[in-house]
Symmetry: C2
DNA sequence: TTGTATGCAAAAGGTTTGCAATGAT
DNA sequence: ATCATTGCAAACCTTTTGCATACAA
């Protein structure tokens, strides 16, 4: 939070109540909420706040490097606080995205592919499978659906 | 292609001209096209084909295990032929997704996280950065935008 | 013949934008 | 005072769906 304020000051962009609210809504969660969920949480503290504003604020926070849009294969973008490199566990059944911070993985030296002149800036690993709740529900049959 | 036909027969689902067309459009490309691009390509061979059908066919191909929806952080899903495990190079500037097949990466034993009872089924690594064309265009400033 | 797939058009998300008013610095 | 941001509502884009028809097996 202080981080965002500092970054805003430095870049001369206004620190609004909406930006605080969205950041707070995002910082409080570990489940990579959708814009709509963020809106719900933020609007609870700041009634009257629009979903459109949430999208604009998220874009602003991304520009500041405070928030990040995570890669997924479902519908509706997911967001997270951008702090440190980490990887994701993605549930194929419910779409939930969990953080995975594993020193062993960080230590791992991934071969940096120079394929076709591509210049790598970030690496992120996605482990897809079933989260515990879904694993219990499904007897191990059928798969996927948002 | 023969693979899809065989799978269809086995499961008793019809092999239609549209399914062939979409599969052909997808098999011919290495750039993980959006549904709309696939539609354009498929409709060239099969005039009158609808975008709605492309979506339904893609869903069917996914069910058959012939096509796959790839994770991304932009708007509009991207698709690929599902053959063998491989990883992706994602361009932060133009959104292009390139395949990366690296034996060294396959050989790499990734620590399988049993975090919170999560059951891993697939692993995919995303290398994000700039593809060669974008790297030339941009003097290394600004970032992102579909 | 039977059941699924397709075309068409409409609906349902999710995300963006123009404009006037509001607010931060 | 000045310029970016917000609310509101409409526009946009992507994806899904109902229904009658067409088609594969």
């Amino acid at each position: 939070m202080g981080r965002m304020v500092a970054l805003c000051r430095r870049r001369g962009v206004p620190v609004t109540a909406q930006r605080r609210a969205v950041l707070r809504a995002l910082a409080g969660r570990r489940d990579h909420p959708t814009a709509e969920r963020i809106h719900a949480a933020a609007a609870a503290r700041l009634p009257g706040m629009t979903l459109a504003t949430v999208y604009r604020v998220l874009a602003a926070l991304e520009r500041l490097g405070v928030a990040r849009r995570v890669a997924h294969d479902g519908t509706g973008a997911r967001f997270e606080i951008a702090e440190g490199a980490h990887h994701h566990l993605v549930c194929l059944s419910c779409g939930r995205i969990l953080d995975l911070r594993d020193p062993a993985l960080e230590a791992l030296a991934l071969p940096a592919p120079r394929a076709a002149g591509f210049h790598v800036q970030e690496v992120s690993i996605q482990f897809r499978g079933l989260c515990r709740p879904c694993r219990r529900k499904q007897p191990a049959r059928e798969r996927r659906r948002r």
